[in-house]
Symmetry: C2
Subunit: 370 residues, 2 copies
């Protein structure tokens, strides 16, 4: 066991151009190690679309938070456990943290294990500011494109022995983001027929999970380029929206109980798309477009009792449930590994939309396996 000092090293975005492959390797001071913290020697870190939205300030101005080490799909070896940690995780364990690394930990939502909807706001695993009354109050959070990561134990989950740690990494945000609504809305149970819009990083997880949950899965995608992949992931039907959504859905109206939408397309014709749903069905948004309001006509909602919702990441409990599910059902995401040193190459490729379907950075110095 190495005892880490208070200087971490990682690949940081220095400004909004960093998304173009201009991350710099820097030394930085992490949050103060607190009694309830866990520290990881990073082995793997997934590249999430959120990383790119953040680096580019696409979701809002991040200028105050540069330099920023992103990465919130962190898996590593536990090297330090605070005295107040009660989760049972110990030094030497393989553990990880997803997109959220802290919350108030005391509101009714946190008490109900819905930390992702904490009434007092959640602290992102990077680009966040710790606000609980700890020695780290007011400090920045840094992510996993780094040699070490540390954060509150409540948000650190064990990686089960029967799940490959490299495959676990991209599930901690991307996987959990779609697993959460699939479970919530009963994919394979109450929701027998499930549609997944968008076959990208999130969509590919959704297809794999929905299939493993026993649902009949329909992939809904703009073009035909990923048809074969979608079918390999479990889709039995593929709908190409193309340029005429109304025409595309003809014959499929009211065929689905649940749609999980991972598409970021700001021009999606919601009024047409939700016609795919049976009455009482749910359209759940998990993609977060860099755009303005969505539009839906009141009669669309009134005349079929469909539900428009959204879901953000997953709570620690849901992440644990997902990892158990993944192990039990032998689910394997489609990942491509990059050495951490090639992070700039990886994010440029991701930014171009080339990922099929999820990139994982490997910290070979710490023992991560390419």
């Amino acid at each position: 066991m190495s005892v880490p000092n208070n200087k971490f090293e990682g690949w940081a975005g220095m400004d909004k151009n960093s998304v173009k492959g201009e991350l710099k390797f820097i030394e930085y001071e992490p949050k103060t190690f607190c009694d309830d913290d866990i520290e990881l020697e990073v082995l793997y870190c997934g590249i999430c679309a959120s990383d790119l939205h953040t680096l580019s300030s696409g979701w809002g101005d991040m200028s105050k938070l540069y330099p920023q080490v992103v990465g919130h799909e962190v898996v590593g070896k536990v090297v330090r456990v605070g005295d107040a940690v009660k989760s049972g995780i110990k030094v030497g364990d393989i553990a990880g943290c997803g997109a959220q690394c802290d919350s108030c930990q005391e509101c009714n939502q946190c008490e109900a294990h819905n930390e992702n909807y904490c009434n007092n706001g959640h602290v992102g695993t990077y680009a966040g500011i710790f606000y609980r009354d700890t020695p780290a109050k007011g400090q920045k959070s840094y992510g996993g494109y780094a040699n070490y990561w540390r954060g509150p134990s409540r948000f650190v989950v064990s990686i089960p022995d029967n799940v490959d740690p490299a495959e676990a990494a991209p599930m901690l945000c991307g996987g959990a983001t779609v697993f959460t609504p699939l479970k919530q809305y009963g994919a394979g149970k109450k929701a027998k027929d499930v549609g997944i819009i968008g076959i990208g990083g999130l969509g590919h997880f959704a297809l794999l999970f929905a299939k493993a949950m026993g649902a009949n899965v329909t992939a809904i995608t703009h073009s035909a380029s990923k048809d074969e992949d979608a079918k390999k992931m479990g889709a039995t039907t593929v709908i190409h929206t193309g340029d005429d959504t109304a025409k595309a859905i003809k014959g499929h109206e009211r065929s689905l109980d649940l749609i999980v939408c991972s598409s970021n397309d700001p021009n999606m014709d919601l009024n047409t798309i939700v016609k795919l749903l049976r009455p009482h069905g749910t359209f759940c948004l998990v993609g977060a477009p860099e755009s303005g309001d969505m539009k839906i006509h009141p009669f669309t909602l009134l005349m079929s009792n469909v539900h428009l919702s959204g879901s953000a990441i997953g709570s620690p409990d849901t992440i644990r449930e997902m990892l158990k599910f993944v192990g039990d059902h032998d689910v394997h995401p489609w990942i491509k590994k990059y050495p951490l040193d090639k992070v700039n190459e990886a994010i440029v490729s991701q930014h171009k939309g080339e990922a099929r379907y999820r990139y994982v950075l490997v910290n070979e110095k710490n023992g991560g396996k390419l």
Copy 2:
């Protein structure tokens, strides 16, 4: 028992100016009486906002359907029962029909007793065209501002002995429209804290029902003019949105599990209003504005897992459940009766927004009691 002929008489809208109090008393030919029909001698008929939207063509051009006898909250004495009717309703019973008088009666939604979401479309109790393969196929439906009404028995419900028939009338559409989502989303059970937007005809039913279901009820209204009424109906909290919704909801964020929105305000600030909901909560629209798309920001949905839905009228089974609930819980709507002959006075008053809170037309000639 009188055996009706094939000429009915009622108050008809002849064009879109009829909403200004220009209904004419006419004779008209109703749908052909079919084997599965029931015929009522009308005693009471509620005036619903839909009647006015239809008369004025506000929801779309109705020119082909004039002359139009509206009224879809019809209660009367059963005077004729078709040979194929199996519902047990018999001549002399008091029965009624709400906003829907037919559907395909064979799709999976109809089989599941969700006739209000029939896959093949529902036939309105007025301004509809019968489409099932019966002798009435292609004929118009006419409503209850009349001496008689007839229609398919599947949509005719008995009025329980412990419910005043005059009070039952406005519940058949207005009441059922809000009872349905209150039940669906568990008012008083899973949804302990319920908000009702708009204190009009629908809103007043929603307040009464939500209170009787055991919920903590918040009324949300534009101005203070109906505060006292709302409290008498069961609201413990009243929020005035005024001209600054964000200011109005301050201190009430995440205080509700369910919002039933009966407001037609096309300018409602949805992104702010739904902040009243706890995570996983539902905003259910029951009012149908004569306007375009509603707007909601993706992050509004994503960051709190709220649900935006709509609900249309009630199925026959739900209407029966409502009437039983009303009898069991001694719920009394706030109604004002008008003689049928004063229908023009009543609709003008309704159109001005003067109803406190629901008008019921009384057919004294048939024995209705003022």
